[in-house]
C-alpha cells in the first residue's frame, strides 16, 4: 500500500483561491494549505526521527529473542542524552527503583513483542533498548525521543513517576515500533491513531505479563501513577474512555470527537475512539487480547497497511481487511472488528468491504 500523501488538487489552485476567492472559499483554501504545509513539514520531521534510530551494537548479549537493554541516569538534566550507565543487559538490580523498573519494563515489552508477535525489538532487527530515568526536574512526563525512552520522576503533585506502570513503558516502546512501521503523523486523527496503538500494545504488554484474559483486564493506562492533584485511577480507560479521572475528556465514539488545537489536535483525547474499538474487539472475541485482536492490529502495522496520514476510517478498513486476511471474510474475527468500528461510529453500514459486511 502506498505510504505517501498525494493531493488531487494542486496547491497553486488553493493559493489562487486564498488570494482572490470569496471569504468562505478563502478560509477553506487557507485551511487546506495549512494542512498541506503541516503534512509536508511533518514528513521531513518524521524522516529525521527515523534517521535518528540508533544502529544495532554488537554485544555479548542480544541476539534474536534476547533484549539488549541499557538504562542511563539523566541526573535531572533534559538538554543532552545521558551518558552515565546505571544498568546494562544481564546485570543485577541496583539501588535505584526507577532504573530497575525501566529495565524490567523494557524486558517485559521486548518479550511480549518477541514471544507473541515474533518481532525482534523496535526495528525487528534487535535494536538496543535505551532508557533514561530521572529525566528533568520534577518532570511530569515520559516520552520516546526517536532513539531513547525518557522517564521523568513526576512532581509528586500531578504524577508520582512513570516507571512503575508497565503499560506506560510498553506505550513508549510501541511509539518506536509505530515509527518503524506505519510512521503515523503526530497530529489530528493520524496522531490519535499513533497514540491509540501505543495504548493498545501497552495494555497488552501488561495483560501478557499478568496472564490476564480480555475479560479479566482492567483496560486502564497508567494506573497508579496519578498524584494527589488528579482525582482518578489512571490516565485513560480503554473500556470507558472519559472516566479515568475527574476532567478526563476522552470520547468513546465519533459523536464526541473533540476538535482542538491543543495537544497537536487532541491526539491523547480522540485516541479514546480507536481505544474503545480495540477493547470491543478483544472482549467480543474473549480469551487473551493478543491472540486475535492484537494480531489483527499488528498485521496492519507490520504490513504498513495504512499511509502516514491515515484517518480513523482508513485504519478501521485496514483492520477489517487484516481480519479477513488472517481469519476469513465470514469469520467471527472479521465480524467483531466490523461491529466494533460501527459501534464507535467510525464505520457505517455500507462502508465495509462487501465480503465482510455483517448484520449488527
Amino acid at each position: 500500500m502506498g505510504a505517501s500523501v498525494r493531493f488531487i488538487v494542486p496547491p497553486q489552485l488553493f493559493e489562487q483561491v486564498a488570494r482572490t476567492g470569496a471569504a468562505a472559499d478563502r478560509e477553506i483554501a487557507l485551511d487546506t494549505l495549512a494542512i498541506d504545509h503541516s503534512i509536508r513539514t511533518a514528513r521531513v520531521q518524521n524522516a529525521a526521527l527515523r534517521a535518528a534510530l540508533p544502529t544495532r551494537l554488537v554485544t555479548a548479549h542480544g541476539g534474536r529473542g534476547n533484549p539488549d537493554r541499557t538504562i542511563f541516569d539523566a541526573q535531572h538534566r533534559s538538554d543532552v542524552h545521558a551518558t552515565t550507565v546505571m544498568r546494562q543487559e544481564g546485570e543485577p538490580a541496583i539501588a535505584d527503583a526507577a532504573a530497575n523498573q525501566a529495565y524490567e519494563g523494557l524486558g517485559d515489552t521486548y518479550r511480549f513483542y518477541w514471544e507473541v508477535l515474533g518481532r525482534d525489538s523496535i526495528d525487528d532487527a534487535g535494536l538496543p533498548l535505551l532508557g533514561e530515568v530521572h529525566f528533568g526536574v520534577d518532570y511530569d512526563n515520559a516520552f520516546w525521543d526517536g532513539a531513547r525512552m525518557m522517564f521523568g520522576d513526576g512532581d509528586g503533585r500531578l504524577f508520582t513517576g512513570f516507571t512503575t506502570a508497565i503499560d506506560v513503558i510498553g506505550h513508549e516502546l510501541t511509539h518506536g515500533v509505530t515509527q518503524d512501521t506505519l510512521n503515523l503523523l503526530y497530529t489530528g486523527q493520524s496522531g490519535a491513531l499513533n497514540e491509540s496503538i501505543s495504548d493498545v500494545f501497552g495494555s497488552m504488554v501488561k495483560q501478557y505479563k499478568l496472564n490476564q484474559t480480555a475479560d479479566q483486564a482492567d483496560w486502564l493506562i497508567g494506573g497508579g501513577i496519578l498524584g494527589p492533584a488528579l482525582h482518578g485511577v489512571a490516565l485513560r480507560s480503554m473500556k470507558a474512555p472519559g472516566t479515568a479521572y475527574d476532567g478526563d475528556s476522552q470520547p468513546s465514539t465519533m459523536g464526541g470527537y473533540v476538535v482542538t488545537t491543543a495537544d497537536n489536535g487532541g491526539v491523547h483525547t480522540n485516541s479514546g475512539i480507536p481505544n474503545r474499538a480495540f477493547y470491543l474487539v478483544a472482549t467480543a472475541l474473549s480469551g487473551y487480547a493478543w491472540e486475535r485482536a492484537g494480531r489483527i492490529w499488528y498485521r496492519v502495522m507490520s504490513t504498513k497497511g495504512v499511509a502516514p496520514d491515515a484517518q480513523f476510517h482508513t485504519f478501521a478498513l485496514a483492520t477489517v481487511n487484516a481480519a479477513i486476511s488472517l481469519y476469513g471474510d465470514t469469520s467471527p474475527e472479521a465480524q467483531a472488528v466490523t461491529s466494533a468500528w460501527m459501534d464507535v461510529g467510525v464505520l457505517m453500514p455500507g462502508q465495509v468491504p462487501a465480503p465482510a459486511a455483517v448484520t449488527t
Binding site: 520531521q45 516520552f143 525521543d145 503526530y186
Partner: protein
C-alpha cells in the same frame, strides 16, 4: 493619540505529554526580567513548527491578543526559566 494598553499577564498553556492534560498558568509581566521579556517577544516571531515527537509537551503563550505555539524541545533557555517558575502552579 491613543496609548495601547500593555498586557499585564503572560498566559501559558501546556498540553500533550503522555497524559494529554491541558493545564494553564500565568505570570505577571512585571515579574519577567528584561531578558525574559525579550525571549517572549522573540517567541511571537517564530513560525509554528510540526510536532517534535510522541508525548512531548506543547506550549501556547498568550500575551494580549498575540499567541505563539512552541514544541517542548524548541523552547528557548530563557523561556524555560519562566516555565520552571510556573511548574508548581499548573491548573
Amino acid at each position: 493619540m491613543t496609548e495601547s494598553r500593555v498586557p499585564d499577564r503572560l498566559y501559558i498553556e501546556r498540553s500533550g505529554g503522555l497524559g494529554g492534560l491541558t493545564l494553564r498558568a500565568s505570570v505577571p509581566v512585571v515579574e519577567l526580567s528584561p531578558e525574559e521579556r525579550a525571549v517572549v517577544e522573540d517567541c511571537f516571531r517564530l513560525p509554528e513548527l510540526p510536532p517534535s515527537g510522541p508525548d512531548r509537551f506543547v506550549y501556547r503563550l498568550q500575551l494580549g491578543d498575540r499567541e505563539a505555539v512552541l514544541q517542548e524541545d524548541r523552547v528557548p533557555p530563557g523561556l524555560q526559566r519562566v516555565l520552571d517558575r510556573v511548574s508548581g502552579s499548573w491548573r
